[in-house]
Each structure stands twice: as C-alpha cells, then as structure tokens.
Amino acid sequence: MSTAAHTPNAPHADAGAEPEPSYLVNKRGLRSWLYTLDHKRIGVMYLIGITLSFLLGGAFALLLRLELFSPGAQLWTENQYNQLFTLHGAVMVFLVIIPGLPAALGNFALPLQLGAPDVAFPRLNLFSFYLWCAGASLLLLSLIVNAADTGWTFYTPYSTTTGTAVVPAVGGAFVLGFSSIFTGLNFITTIHKFKPKGMTWFRMPLNLWGIYSTALLQVLATPVLGITLLLLLTERILNIGIFDPALGGDPVLFQHFFWFYSHPAVYIMILPAMAVMSDLITTFSHKHIFGYRFIAYSSIGLAALSFLVWGHHMFVSGQSKLAGMVFSALTFTVAIPSAIKVFNWVATLYKADITLKTPMLYALSFILLFTIGGLTGIFLGALNVDVHLHDTYFVVAHFHYVMMGSALIAFLGALHYWYPKMFGRMFNERVGQVCAIFVFIGFNVTFLPQFVMGARGMARRYFDYDPEFTLYHRISTIGALFMGITLVVSFGNLVWSLFKGPKAPRNPWGGTTLEWQAPSPPPLYNFYANEQPVLYDIYDYDDLVYDEKEGGYVRLPGKKDPPTESHEP
C-alpha cells in the first residue's frame, strides 16, 4: 500500500498554481536564518560553521607539517608546536568530525529520508546549534588567550598544572558535548516517532540505521565526557584533588573516564560515515544493497561493542594485565562488524552498473582507506605490538586513516551527494572527480609514510626528530600540502557552483530514498502539500531510468506497483 508519509497539520496555501518557495528563499533576511526552526536551514548553518572549522583545523595541520619538514626548529617554538597540535586535534574532533555528519548532513537528510516535515524537537535543534557556536567560541577563545598545550585528550596531571588556557578549551568541549547529546536525543525521537506508516525498521534506509546507532552513542557516552570535563574544571579551578595523587586522587581514573566516552566517540565519527556509505554505494551501483540486515545489525553491534573497548587506549598506563588481555580480546571483536560492512559493500559493487560520479569516487576511497585504517587497528589492539607502537606515528597514521580517510572522506562524499538537494544546483562534476582522486592520492602520500616511520620508532607529538626520519616527514608534508590545496579547490568548486552551477533535477543520482522525491531544493515542509512522498522498496532500482530532458532519474510510471504490506518479511 502506498502511503503518504506525513501530513503536516499547518494550513497550506493552495498548491497547484504556484509552487511553494524553497526553504532557502521562503523567508529572507539574517533574522529568518538565526531564528529558524527548519531542520534544513539549521543543517546549512552547521555546514557553514563546520566547513570554516575544517579549514581552520586543516590550516593548523599544515603549519604542523611545515614545522616537521626538516629536523630542528623551523617556524615555531616547542610550546607553540604543542599548542598547534592540541588545537588541530581539538578543532578537528570536537568541532568538525563529531558534528560533521550527524549534525550538519544528518540534520538535513534525516527528516527528508523519513518523509517527515521536521525533526521531533525543532527548538532543541536550534538550541544545539547555538550550543555548538558557544562551544566553538570558547575553544577558540583558548586560542586567543593562551592556547592549551595538553593535546586534545586533556590528560591529567599535565592539564591541571600547565600554565596555558585549559579552562576555556575544556569548557568549550563540555558545551559541545551537550550540543551533541541534544542532537542525538532529537534524532532518536525523530526516527522512532516520525517513521511513516509502511516504513518498518527493516525498510528504513541504512543511513538512518547508522544515524540511529550514532545518536544512541551520543546520548549514552557523551554525558560521561561531560562529567569528566566538569571534574577536570573543578580540579583546575578549585583544586578538589579528585585526579591529584598527592590528595589520594587517581590521574589514571581521568583516562578511564575520558576513554569511556572517547572510544565510543570514535564510532560517533565513523558510524554515520559508514551509514552514508551504504547509501552512496548502492545508489551509484544502481543495485540492491547486499546483506541489508547484516549491515543494519552491524551498526548496532559496533555501537554496543564500542562501550567495551576503552581500555585499549591504556595498555601502557598501568592497567592490570588481566584488564589488558580482556580489552585486547574485545578490541579484536570490533573487526567482525566492521568487516561485515566492508564485505557487504564490496558484494554490492560486484557485477553492478557503477557510475563513477564524485560521491562514488569518495565512497570507493572510503572502502580502501577504511580497510587500511581498520586493519592497522588490529596491530594496535594486540598487546605486545602495542607496547612497541604506542605513541608513535603508527598510531597517528592509523587514526588519521579512520578519522580523516574514512569519516571526513565520507563527509565529503555525502556533501557532494546531497549538495544538489540542499542548494538546487549541480556542482562541476569534472572538477569534483579530479579533486576526489587527488584527495585520495594526497591522503596516502601524507599518511602511508607515517606508518613506516612510526614502526621505526618516530614518536608522536615530537617537535624535533632524528635526521633518519627526514625523508618520511618530507614526503608526508608534501602530501599534506597537496591535499590541502585540493580540498580548498574542492570547496571552492562547491561555492562557485552555488551561483554558477546548472539547476539540479529532483533525482540527479538515481537514489531511491525519499529525499529524492522532494523538489531540489525542498520547500519549508520538505514536500509539496499536494504531493506527499510515496514509499517504494527503498533499494529497488529497477523502475528508475535516466531522463535526458530532466537531467536526472525518473520513475517509470505504472511499471511496478509500490510494494504492499504483505511483502514485508
């Protein structure tokens, strides 16, 4: 039975003669954006903030790499170097990757994919955005005052004794945590309460499964970070002694608390990336996803396992041997759901009719880079190997393959994927494709040498190094510069296309999820009042054909009836 997903109960102008204006222009002026409750506008505001933060964090990274071009001091003093890597890490983790996919693109796509007019709590959504702004300002305030030099992990006892501005940085991370919690809370409620009739849990787009798992982690893990940072703040301001061994406190307890959040946080970053991957790969393969249920369950499985492995960050922090073994064994189990996903994506590609558009190029990069990042994680999860590799560039390379090579590449892929829907314009495809390939090359040039030098003993966070590592550092720096330029060009392409790009069709890629039934860009309540979305099988591509005149895909009329309830498993 085909179902009109949702009918908003607000009155509509009689649609028919005049199409409703898109969400971008239905109200004008700065005020209409700052007070908006529309999830799409909030998503776009997040996107702008996150992109700016990304460029800032990227600039910090390049400044670090330039310093490391040769041994000895180049541009900065030792302390400035410490401040730079702290800011690079904190900005990228707390301001870019954690909110990137869920808050910016998830905000935009989630209600559309549900065929719903908005998220469950629009005001809370706007509040989350302003919390993000407040947290970002605090974090950057630390930069202006006297940037923290603790590393983004704020380990005690250094963070309670250093003379730099740790308080604003930690306060910023605390506020950002609440932004994340409220976003997660909002998304879980939206998915539960706004699934249209006929869309069962196992007929949801896989993107929503991923966002749901992410949101669970945001709600259940972030509060622990919140209280930890709050304790750190009181320790620093009031000297309560909770992490101070001189007063009976335990600094390692901070690490336990911190990683109890920050390991799940890794999945807050990677799960939405995997989620959007499932949608990208199946759309550009024009083929039903392989192993739907396995991918869905593996998202939940990863979310659950992520709570049980935090100790693998602390193998050399004086944790007991038994705890080390248990955490190591549990860490290996993470490989199972991760591998399930990769195998299913590859199986989806098998014998598919693949279109190599920009988002798909990013998706294929993702598969390769995530595989490398995931497999090197197994090295680090093995106890004895970790003792050798701990705090070396091997670790740096590993988590950059996962954080940047996977999460950020997926963010770029998703951004290009939904860009036509967001702004109603197509970007320059050729430039996009070239950038995608160059980002992939630049990324590997940057980080592959870091595996080698890490394994050979180059410690992370070091300002200076032995001359034997010079070659690796030089290759890495050149790769980083190359990638930085490519990324700027890539964002430039998107900005240029806002004004000069050709008009986007409704369904440029042949996607089957509900957002592609909405106009590009959608009106205020996402769908025209007189044409609510119709629910077909979410991964059935047979009825979609490319239409030259439209410039996108259209559904063949009447060839196949929409699925009935009896088709449900």
């Binding site: 605090l138 308080v167 909770i242 406190g249």
Partner: protein, 330 residues
Amino acid sequence: MTLAIYIFVPLVILGITYAVVHGLTVRGPFIQHHFDDDVHQFDSGKLGIWLFLGQEVLFFSALFVAYIIYRHNHPEVFAYAHQYLDVKMGAINTGVLILSSLTAAWAVRAAQLGQKKLLIGLIIVTLLCAFGFLVIKYFEYEHKAHVGTVFGKRFVPHEAPDGRPIHQPDATPGKTEGGAPAPKEPVNTVGGTKAQPAPGAAPGTPAPGTQPVVPEDPSALRGEPASTATGVGVLPALEAQKRAGVKIDTHASALPPPNTGMFFTIYFAMTGLHGIHVLAGIFVFIWLLIRACRGHFGPRYYGPVDFAALYWHLVDLIWIFLFPLLYLIH
C-alpha cells in the same frame, strides 16, 4: 577566562530569557506544526524526556564510579569522614524530597484532570520542598565550611566528628569561636580569598597572591612531613606548634586518616551536582507555575508537567542513592 565569562554568561542569560519569553507568549492549542496531533506530540516528548533522563543517569554515573573506586582504595577515609555528616539533616532532606516527588506526581494527575487550582497548589508545594531542600543543604555546607571539613587540600578540620575541638594553630584565633557568622569559604583562608585564577592571567595558574594561605598543612597534622610550603610564615608556626608538644596528640583516635579530604571531594562533587539539578528543577517548576496560572494545561495538553515531574523523580532518586552512600556507611 574572564573574557570567556563576559561573553558566555550574557549569551546564556539572553538565551534563557528568550526561551522563557518565547515559551510564555506561545498561544494554544500548543501543538507544533510538524506533529500529527496531540498524542503524537506527547509521545515524542515522552521519549525525549526518557532519553534525557538516561543521559542524566550517565552524567552522574562517573561520580558513582569515582565513589566506588575511592571507597575501595581508602575504606578508612570513608569510615572516618562520614561521621562528620549530619544524618538527621540528611534524613529530613530525604523526607522533603520524597514529599516533593509525591506532589509532583499528583500535579500531573491534576493537570490531566484539568484541576487548575489543585495543580497550582501542588506546584507551589513542590517548589517549597525544593527550596527547603536547598536551605537545609546550605546549612550543612555552611557547617562544613565552619568546621573546616572541605574538599581536597582545604580539609583542615577544627573539630573531630564527635564535636571535640581539634586544636589548630590558627592565624586568626577567635574566628572559629564565638557565634560570628561563618564565611562560606573555609575560615582559615586568609582574607577570604578564593582559589581563583587571577583575571587576565592564564586560568588555573597558581598565582601566588590568590592561593588560599592555609595556616597549617593538613599532612603535618597527621605527623607526616609537610608536603608543600603553602604560604609564607606557615612553616615556622607549624614547627613552633610541634615543639610546643601539640595538643592534638591527646585526641589520637580522632585524628583523620591520610587523604580524608577525598571523601569531601566526592561528597561536594556529588551533592553539589545534585544541588545544581535541584536548582534547575526550581526554574522548571517556576516556569510551569506561570503557565499553570495562565491555564495552559488540561486533559489534552499536560506534557510539560509530566516531563518535569519525571525529571524531578530522577533528581529525587539520585538523592535516595546519595543519602545512604554518604551518610549511612560504616
């Protein structure tokens, strides 16, 4: 840091004012446009508040974990230090909170049945209980500040748990005696300065002028070597005290074990965070009171009362765990 406060606090105040004004100017029937109907809105809100409560439980969880670990590491500290807590006051507070939970639950029923006057009355009783709780808590805190049983480094008790004075060489004798109102800070901080980073300076940097000058190092009291010199003129005084035969030795049984401050760190962190939640609850119930007076609630729209009551029950429940864990241990 000061700049952060100047920027951040007005922003938060503006935001809250905006939200309150916005909330008060909303006109019925209070169904937001994107919900199908009132049931849909209520169900969504209910799921939302439950998720929020789950979040709250985890927010407190780290403190409970810290409690378990430190109690396991220093059982003697907990056994000794809990005697400083006033079970009577804690018990009264438990009763007050349970009563307020009852009135909160009853308020939900009143809202559902549209009994406006009863609803207003019950919200007022809940508010009074919440205020009462905080007032009692204030007296407990004040007593601790007076006696010197404060967190961490500042744990310098003037009294043993049984009320006998632990004689301490005080820089300002007489301040602890007499009925003078005790300052909120530990009395032994000279000049009443708080450990606050100097404005403009890097936060948290121990600026020499602003550190509390503890007249006696607590570790010295326990017969350990002084760990740090905390202020000018302290150590000579201490030495003099030791040479003078030290009265405290006669109370050997009452001497606090090492790191007793840790108990009060945990105590203040847990009850302080709980107190902040009570305070937040007060704001929520004031907001509900205003809306109830305007007749916003009825059988078709009572979600906010229900959600606030759920939150209040959780705050109550956390206290029900805190009370035995802190006051009733042996």
